[in-house]
């Protein structure tokens, strides 16, 4: 005779479920505990590491960059706050704030020349020039980190990638796709002509001149009518290196 499901059966089933759940929770807890322990071990190791290699982190940009990468992987942001262990240990927060201020300075000083768009490479070069006296060398990675901290201020600092180069933008103008393409095209020689833009990008004349005029108005381009062939060239100080030289004199 088939047993019908009775109270007893239900109770057994419920008890079994509870048992399973309890077991599951235990296993999960054990695992998280283990993970937590591992993580905290890792953190303390990281701290030990940081303490041990304090000088390397401060002085060697490549090492610093790798250290940052490692920190990011375990969810530690040494720049998150200027207080606390990391800042006290490494003074790394101050370092980036200082860089940030200097970056803002350079961007403002070179704005009349480059229209607020500067090659990261150049920015870095100028930064090093300015910091000649400072002990720590500065890498592009450091610049990028300092700039990412500047974003908090909402001042419109941003790094954009155009072709192979990274440019730092300090003006709120949004560069449209067309403008980016022209900037990319100009990287070969430092300048473009209307004709070249039309041919290389397969654009209509109107589209090319429109985009170039905008870049000119924004102060990102300069015209050059002096070539023998009589064709107007549009130069881009942000992709050439002239801006750094001009600006370093005025700084």
């Amino acid at each position: 005779m088939r047993r019908r499901p009775g109270i007893g059966g239900l109770q057994t089933a419920a008890a079994a479920r509870d048992q399973y759940r309890l077991l599951g929770e235990n296993v999960a807890k054990l695992r998280t505990d283990l993970m937590k322990e591992q993580l905290s071990t890792f953190r303390s190791q990281l701290e030990d590491f940081a303490r041990k290699h304090k000088n390397d982190i401060k002085k060697n940009p490549a090492f610093r960059s790798q250290f940052h990468e490692m920190c990011a992987k375990v969810g530690v942001d040494p720049l998150a706050s200027n207080k606390g262990f990391w800042a006290e240990l490494l003074g790394i927060g101050d370092f980036y704030y200082e860089l940030g201020v200097q970056i803002v300075d350079i961007c403002l000083a070179t704005r009349p020349i480059n229209g607020g768009l500067i090659n990261l490479e150049e920015l870095c070069k100028m930064l090093s020039q300015r910091r000649k006296g400072a002990r720590e060398a500065v890498s592009e990675d450091d610049c990028l980190r300092a700039i990412s901290k500047l974003k908090v201020l909402g001042s419109g600092f941003e790094v954009i990638t155009v072709g192979k180069r990274k440019l730092v933008r300090s003006v709120p103008t949004e560069l449209k796709k067309d403008h980016n393409e022209i900037l990319e095209l100009s990287q070969a020689q430092g300048f473009v002509t209307v004709e070249e833009v039309e041919r290389r990008l397969s654009w209509s004349t109107g589209r090319a001149t429109d985009a170039l005029e905008t870049l000119l108005d924004e102060g990102l381009a300069m015209i050059d009518d002096g070539h023998r062939d009589g064709k107007r060239r549009y130069w881009f100080p942000c992709v050439s290196s002239v801006s750094s030289f001009v600006a370093s004199e005025t700084l």
């Binding site: 009349p112 300048f191 102060g219 300069m222 015209i223 050059d224 060239r233 130069w235 050439s240 002239v242």
Partner: protein, 179 residues
Amino acid sequence: MQTAGEHKLPHFFHYPPYFTLQPVRETREKQIQLWKELILDYCRAHKIFVIGLEEDFPLFSNSAIERSLNHEAREAFLSALVLDGRAEWMDKSHRQCLILWHRIKDWADIILHFAKENGLEDSVMTVEEIRTGIESRGTDIHGMDRGVLMRALKLLENKGKLAIFKGTSTDDEGVKFSV
């Protein structure tokens, strides 16, 4: 004429668009600023007082990049200097420009300093001596434009620092310091 090569030229001088007057205001202002500084520095370094707009002034072209300033640009940069009080047009048609890499009053101070340095406080000198004599050798005064020198001397005369007296010809105008 001196070549531009002797002077350490700023890098913008090798960037072609700086030889075309820029249409956008802010860019042009920066461009003019850089040119003004360059012209003054260059004239100071080479003791040049007069720039002829139609002449081959070394700064007006850069053969390495095959660029030169057109007349409009030359006039724009010099006019900006005129506005700053650092230059003066010598004729109405703006063909020649006098560059005051020291302002007249600064020239006057330099001359006073020169007189004190050389113990000329009560001495008499001819204008030519001041310009070309041994005493002024190695100073900015040496070989300076006669017209500029006369204006600086007159300024000092008005202040009672010296007296200018005429000889028989313009060549032997003399100065008596009374510093």
